[in-house]
Symmetry: C2
């Protein structure tokens, strides 16, 4: 199975064989982390950079009254905390949701990589900019989209992100999130997530059983959600071909 980091970054820039090797060396040995474990907590001094190789993680903040707000989902190929060692302390927590394979990378290693390859440096900046774009799109979702369309939008986003790293087929993927976790990321209650999910099922927009999501008609779901993937800044449509066999787009 191709490395999800390489698969993802190929969507940003054209990597050389050397670049790929550097990135693969980086992501060779991940450590397994169980579900619902924190990798680093709010107020901790940031030390390493985390890279998700497999599984499902998130960023979240806890409110004084104990409620939780999930501000990002982290899927295979996602970096967390690039350059965050600049900051004195974390302003949020990073934790797993499903069992994960995680690589911890020294800040120095990142620095080294960016010095060796300007393409990788560029790809890491791209990754940061996409993270920001995603945060903005979530703000739009929370602010303006009704719960049903917001949920549909999230499912479209996750599909596309998982597709780019080879973790989804074109019409289904594994979604190991509880309704409570979905609720915490959508700013609504679990009860309401449940009702909205049922409505989407009734309308034939999705099927969801045993943590597997199936989308019978992606165009219909995307239209319903008002999904425009421009904020993910993928330079080509993700396909099922491995990176090496895809026609190259010259930058």
């Amino acid at each position: 199975m191709a490395n999800p980091l390489v698969l993802r970054l190929e969507h940003a820039v054209s990597l050389t064989a050397d670049d790929r090797r550097l990135l693969e060396d980086l992501a060779r040995e991940g450590r397994r982390v169980g579900p619902r474990e924190d990798l680093i907590r709010e107020e901790d001094p940031p030390e390493a950079v985390y890279l998700v190789l497999d599984g499902f993680a998130c960023r979240y903040k806890t409110l004084p009254d104990g409620r939780r707000s999930i501000t990002a989902y982290l899927v295979p190929g996602d970096f967390c905390n690039l350059h965050v060692t600049i900051l004195g302390e974390m302003d949020h927590t990073i934790g797993t949701l499903a069992p994960c394979t995680i690589v911890e990378i020294e800040q120095a290693t990142i620095h080294d990589l960016t010095c060796r390859s300007p393409r990788i440096a560029r790809a890491l900046w791209w990754s940061t900019l996409v993270d920001e774009g995603t945060l903005r799109e979530w703000l739009v979702s929370l602010g303006k989209r009704p719960a049903d369309r917001q949920l549909a939008h999230l499912l479209c986003e996750l599909r596309l992100r998982l597709l780019t790293v080879g973790k989804a087929s074109s019409n289904s993927y594994s979604l190991p999130l509880t309704q409570e976790e979905l609720a915490d990321s959508m700013g609504i209650t679990p009860v309401h997530v449940n009702r909205v999910l049922q409505q989407l099922r009734e309308d034939g927009l999705i099927r969801l059983q045993d943590r597997m999501l199936t989308v019978p008609d992606i165009e219909r779901l995307e239209a319903f959600a008002g999904f425009n993937p421009n904020y993910l800044h993928l330079r080509e449509k993700p396909g099922r071909l491995p990176a090496d066999e895809r026609p190259k787009v010259t930058a």
Copy 2:
């Protein structure tokens, strides 16, 4: 008047006199831009980096039905679009709200700066990380805080950000936003903003007339909002002394 960019970055790192001069040279001549003008639009190819020297601007996205979602306020000292030339097209629009002084900077100039001074490079990364932190905090606000506390939180944030660049006194600042603009950034309707503002006024938490906001008791407002400024990553409490006279904290 000290340069707002320098004032802001001083909160991130200890700059040398050379660094300050470099930054001041960058921000010498801004162009005046009227209110409600777009600097760059969604789908445009990003070209320059923008720096706000004075005024009030924002990032926003427009939905298919014409509604607008403001995803960030940009105040003096704020960079927009650092390294965004990596991306093929903008995924949002940047526009002024009040009259502004804007500097357009070539991407090459930024690159040059970061090569010359590692402290400036670090400060620009800091700026990006703070932007991200702010987006996350807004997600929390939209997702979990009721409208009154959300508005209070926003006012606390703007106060602190303006204070760090010398654009606010400790208990009041100019807030040139309409209720509609506040609404577009909070994910609620202008009518509801109006009602919530009145409630905050009645409770004595704020005064707001002629676009001037006064906070009689900032601790009370911050407590009401549940405001924790950690996400702005300021290494010292903003004071009224100019940077040169402040005691230096060694990193």
